[in-house]
């Protein structure tokens, strides 16, 4: 499924003194198989953009085209968008409400009109993929923070959305939990959810997980392209209060010091390989 946004503008508290423009003329297209990282500092409009994409926030101007098609009115477009999209909000564990983890994960599939049997297999599959299959009979309120986060994500994943949107999925997790979560998302992509877009503050997360990067600044979409294209514009990113992954900064430093390294290195593993090759060693398997 492809989804497209055309010239979207959105203002919070429109017509009030506290009005704040969150999106200015944003156009974006996601195709089947895309895995996009959305970066931008706090207040750049990432969360708003994601809600518009999911059909949850009617834009003031512009058009939402779910499944690449134009619809006569916003309402029907939003209905299609909601059906094919799963949105994991920031701190999704704050939305758990059922007595057991099983029931909470089953909430989405049952709402989509699946039979009890189908929902059951969806719940078990989603729980297995997210790594919470042993917690199904527990109360979601008895779990640890990281477990709650996984359960909440499983609740969205169980609907098997074609487009999965995640707003800061690793916020507040420890490094290990974050790493596992991102690896899990990588394994979902392509096979369970066709398209994934995730917003993140962490350039490291983005660099090693996604295929393409979109950059938001002040409500505008200012850059988009492959990970290498975007992170090679380090100066521009820094001027927007963003940064490149730590390892690329080290590589930049080494290049400045005169070492013949490539500029498109964004993960520690790649850097290790490149440096090892330079020192005459083999691949660091």
């Amino acid at each position: 499924m492809s989804v497209e946004l055309r010239n979207i503008t959105y203002t919070y508290n429109k017509d009030e003194p506290s009005a704040r423009v969150a999106l200015k003329n944003v156009s974006l297209r996601l195709d089947d198989g895309d895995f996009v990282g959305l970066i931008g500092h706090t207040g750049s409009g990432k969360s708003t953009l994601m809600q518009v994409l999911a059909g949850l926030l009617p834009p003031n101007e512009g058009e939402l085209l779910p499944e690449g098609k134009s619809y006569p009115d916003y309402k029907s477009a939003a209905r299609v968008a909601r059906k094919s999209t799963g949105l994991v909000f920031q701190y999704p564990e704050h939305q758990l409400f059922e007595e057991t983890v099983y029931k909470d994960i089953a909430f989405g599939p049952l709402n989509r009109g699946l039979s009890a049997d189908e929902a059951d297999s969806r719940v078990r599959e989603a729980a297995r993929r997210v790594g919470v299959e042993t917690l199904l009979d527990k109360s979601p309120f008895d779990l640890s923070g990281g477990q709650k986060r996984r359960v909440a994500i499983a609740g969205v994943v169980a609907m098997k959305p074609e487009l999965l949107i995640l707003d800061e999925p690793t916020a507040g997790l420890d490094p290990e939990g974050a790493r596992e979560l991102l690896a899990m998302l990588g394994s979902l992509h392509g096979d369970w959810c066709k398209t994934i877009i995730l917003a993140s503050h962490s350039m490291e997360d983005v660099a090693k997980t996604v295929k393409t990067v979109a950059v938001m600044n002040g409500g505008r979409l200012v850059m988009s392209g492959s990970v290498a294209e975007v992170f090679s514009r380090g100066e521009e990113l820094r001027s927007m209060g963003l940064d490149t992954p730590q390892i690329s900064r080290i590589v930049d430093g080494l290049i400045k010091a005169g070492l013949p390294l490539r500029r498109d290195i964004f993960t520690v593993a790649d850097a290790a390989d490149a440096i090892a090759a330079l020192m005459g060693g083999g691949k660091n398997a």
Binding site: L57, G86, F89, P92, H94, Q95, F107, G108, V156, M159
Partner: protein, 268 residues
């Protein structure tokens, strides 16, 4: 939809009403309500309507913003008006259908009730629209402080109110987010019969309450960490003083009372 509730929402502009001492405004609202319930003839109501219009104008809050706050009470108003319209036994009958009848007295009472309710809401929301919550509770604390000697915990009451007011927008934002999150999971809050709709509220209410308790807990710890121990010996950053605008408020108060008494005497 949740943005429609204006109660407890401060509209930040500069106007004579905004500059007034919160104590003046609080006393004015009580005074205004008393006048409203004293009023009986159409002339008195007309006078209060005109006065309210002037106050709204002076506050520089757009009328559309104020009337939005009236939406939630529309049902209450229809109920009150309907009850008075159909159930007033006195007066000459205008219309009858079964046990329902409309009398001329009923019409008059229903109209008065409607006007009174609308004015009541507009008058009290003018207070919260022109006074930031923190200033408002400061004013309440000062007004209640003479009763502290009688054992009234005026500071604690004011603190509770300011915390409650402080959390209205936060909880509304949270509710908005939870509704969206559950909508994204296919929850449907708009169709089905009343029982189904009430059941559909659980996915919103449970997380909302859990979140509210979590916030309360965090706030309590944060306050303890800063050695909060109640009102004794506590000084305030804000000092309230009686100014020019408050003087005008007093003049208006006296003027309005004089006008109403005049009407009452003349039309008797």
């Amino acid at each position: 939809m949740l943005r429609d509730i204006t109660l407890g929402q401060y509209y930040s502009v500069d106007s004579p009403l905004h500059r007034m001492d919160p104590r003046t405004k609080l006393l004015w609202v009580i005074y205004y309500m008393t006048l409203l319930f004293m009023a009986s003839s159409a002339w008195e109501y007309a006078l209060i309507v005109i006065f309210t219009a002037i106050a709204v104008r002076a506050s520089r809050v757009p009328l559309s913003f104020i009337t939005r706050g009236l939406k939630p009470i529309v049902i209450l108003m229809l109920f009150t008006v309907g009850l008075n319209l159909f159930m007033t036994p006195t007066g000459s009958e205008l219309w009858r259908w079964g046990f329902l009848k409309i009398t001329d007295d009923g019409v008059v009472i229903a109209v008065k009730m409607a006007v009174r309710l609308v004015l009541l809401i507009i008058g009290s929301s003018l207070l919260t629209l022109t006074t930031s919550p923190i200033v408002l509770t400061g004013g309440i604390e000062r007004l209640l402080s003479p009763f502290a000697r009688l054992g009234l915990p005026s500071h604690e009451i004011a603190m509770m109110m300011s915390i409650a007011l402080r959390f209205i927008p936060t909880l509304m934002e949270e509710t908005d987010k939870i509704i969206k999150a559950q909508t994204s999971r296919g929850a449907d809050f708009e169709s089905g019969g009343p029982i189904k709709r009430v059941r559909a509220m659980a996915p919103i209410l449970v997380p909302l309450f859990v979140g509210a308790f979590r916030r309360a807990d965090e706030l309590a710890v944060a306050m303890e960490c800063r050695c909060y121990h109640g009102g004794t010996g506590r000084t305030s950053l804000r000092r309230f003083a009686f100014g020019r605008d408050d003087f005008f408020a007093l003049v208006w108060a006296v003027g309005l009372l004089a006008a109403i008494i005049t009407i009452k005497v003349v039309t008797r």
